[in-house]
Symmetry: C2
Subunit: 331 residues, 2 copies
DNA sequence: TCGCCCAATGGTATCGATTACACGTCGGAC
DNA sequence: GTCCGACGTGTAATCGATACCATTGGGCGA
């Protein structure tokens, strides 16, 4: 049985109202009472009940954070950004790992509603129709990360996927490549088509004789293994533009197995800049998303929504090219 | 203003007590009342307030999980294991990222107490004296992961560090190495000395002419760069046994920079089996910890503590050797 | 037919904090 | 000397759900 405000009041010889006023830092407390209450709190090691406080104030100081898969190296950095921002405003994060299961995502949304969280952040790759229905009617502040709903009814934090695709293609074009292979992600994701759009735009802008082949991957390491089949058909040099870093790493492994040298024969460029990208051999050239900022901004957006501000539309964060060792001139 | 149990009661033409009974699945409700209440719940999209329920029942159904650094690839898997186990028992995880800051860890413990979590899991590398004082007097079910308090007052979930160190050394000894270099972690951590003990035990058991040199690292990538200095002094072949995978990856990078070939000239073995280990070139041979199981077991231990069971002492999980490409015969 | 028991339901205190309102006291101004 | 206001403090309602206790009514056995 933990200590309650009543215990403290009794100990200090005041009413619970006075203790509460001390807790709130209200000025309407005499110095004598203040000191007695503080002493009692210290002696009893009293900690006010956040539960009771939440019930009364109708705020829990918690945010729900739903991630597709925490072991996907893309997400921890987002979580860290969100957690930092939350901590700064005195809130806690309830982490929900959907484990790639859309049903579980929806179940979590329900659960978070019961827990009366002050807001929810959904950092999930693919949204299904059911998600759209559920999310667009969500009765609590809601922000999407790295995904968006058609019509922009729900505020979203995104990276500049189209610009990133453009930068990636421009980079290999500059290196003299004229044959590009794009290993995409699953077609349902909006980011997938945006990145491809960017690649096409860069090719169009280059005004040169460039071929582009598109192979569909799954956005994971396995998707990169498509490079094996490609390598069977194409003679170097060519450049592989992967939808993301996991795909790129998968591709590099496939090439490594086949004895094809990166970047001497084939260039590979990824997208995301996950921690792993800096530690492959050679290091992976990639388009970096500012994942920390995305998490941070999502939490700040929740705060703005809660303060009554109408946040509409998408917030798009810039990306930047990071050149490591996996891309080189076309010989 | 969300819908309350009173609204549902009014709508269904019953008292709130009856609605509560329906919510609890109590059999003492007539079929007619049950149906009316269920209809009212559905129509109003009522969700019972977890906050009010927690206040009344004195349980929140939440667990605090304090992690040293979520972007350290060692932790997400632990988080996933914990989250899965929690979800299975209907609990949620409040994630606290201490960001390598011991003060922040302690502040979080306080916060979690205010939130009246049902239990706390601390997955933190180094424990300071202040931690020890604070944790050993912690008034709520508590489990440590990958760390232990002297005297075993607090239940802990650990890997077999000593056995792992032994297995790592035995592996390179079998490959014919006679000169071993151990890049350790910061000396304050118990796991550091245990792994080193294991290495020494394996050498002693080998009954051969083997030299061992110990270099202190920091447990992170930077620690592995100590390999640069070692490589300046030692002529291959030799084997580097790193305290953990990050250190090993750092070491491989240093060797790669110097043009020293792994594993042809120098063998490198890590510890942990983080996701990254499978995707370096060559793949990293390592001692795998079952991180998922650690998180899972920690949550289960909390549940046992809560049910009144006295869980004392450490629970040690086995590790296993995973041979990839970074270790090879000594030439 | 009477009485008893059980099923179904409602009333209400309770969990622990916050806060509107009321009350008493003291000091200063007239 | 009286009145007013400010200040400090206590009382009690409130947040939403749960659980104990009381009440009602119907069925069944004696």
């Amino acid at each position: 049985m933990p200590i309650t405000i009543t215990d403290v009041a009794a100990r200090a010889g005041v009413s619970s109202a006075t203790v509460s006023r001390v807790l709130q830092g209200s000025p309407r407390v005499s110095r004598a009472a203040l000191e007695r209450v503080q002493a009692a709190i210290a002696e009893l090691e009293y900690r006010p009940s956040g539960v009771a406080r939440s019930l009364r104030s109708q705020q829990t100081g918690t945010l729900g954070l739903i991630v597709t898969n925490i072991t996907n190296p893309f997400y921890p950095e987002i979580v860290r950004g969100a957690e930092d921002a939350a901590q700064r405003m005195g809130a806690s994060i309830i982490l929900c790992n959907a484990a790639e299961d859309p049903e579980r995502e929806i179940a979590y949304l329900d659960l978070l509603l019961e827990r009366r969280v002050d807001g929810v952040i959904v950092a999930a790759g693919g949204l299904t129709q059911r998600h759209e229905d559920f999310l667009s009617a969500f009765p609590s502040p809601l922000v999407l990360v790295n995904a968006a709903l058609p019509g922009g009814q729900v505020p979203a934090v995104l990276s500049d996927d189209e610009g990133g695709g453009r930068a990636a293609a421009a980079h290999v074009l500059e290196l003299g490549h004229t044959r590009l292979v794009h290993i995409s992600g699953p077609a349902v994701r909006e980011a997938v088509s945006l990145r491809l759009d960017g690649v096409r735009a860069a090719i169009a802008a280059a005004d040169a004789d460039v071929t582009l082949e598109v192979v569909e991957g799954d956005g994971y390491l396995a998707g990169g293994l498509a490079a094996r089949e490609v390598a069977g058909r194409l003679r170097p040099p060519y450049a592989i533009i992967a939808h993301n870093d996991l795909t790129a790493v998968g591709a590099m492994h496939a090439l490594f197995d086949l004895g094809i040298r990166v970047p001497d024969e084939v260039s590979v460029i990824g997208f995301d800049d996950i921690a792993l990208a800096a530690f492959t051999n050679p290091g992976l050239t990639t388009i970096a998303q500012d994942k920390y900022a995305m998490g941070h901004l999502a939490v700040e957006t929740i705060a703005r929504l809660r303060s009554g501000e109408a946040v509409k539309g998408d917030q798009v964060l810039p990306v930047r090219l990071i050149v490591r060792g996996s891309t080189g001139p076309a010989h």
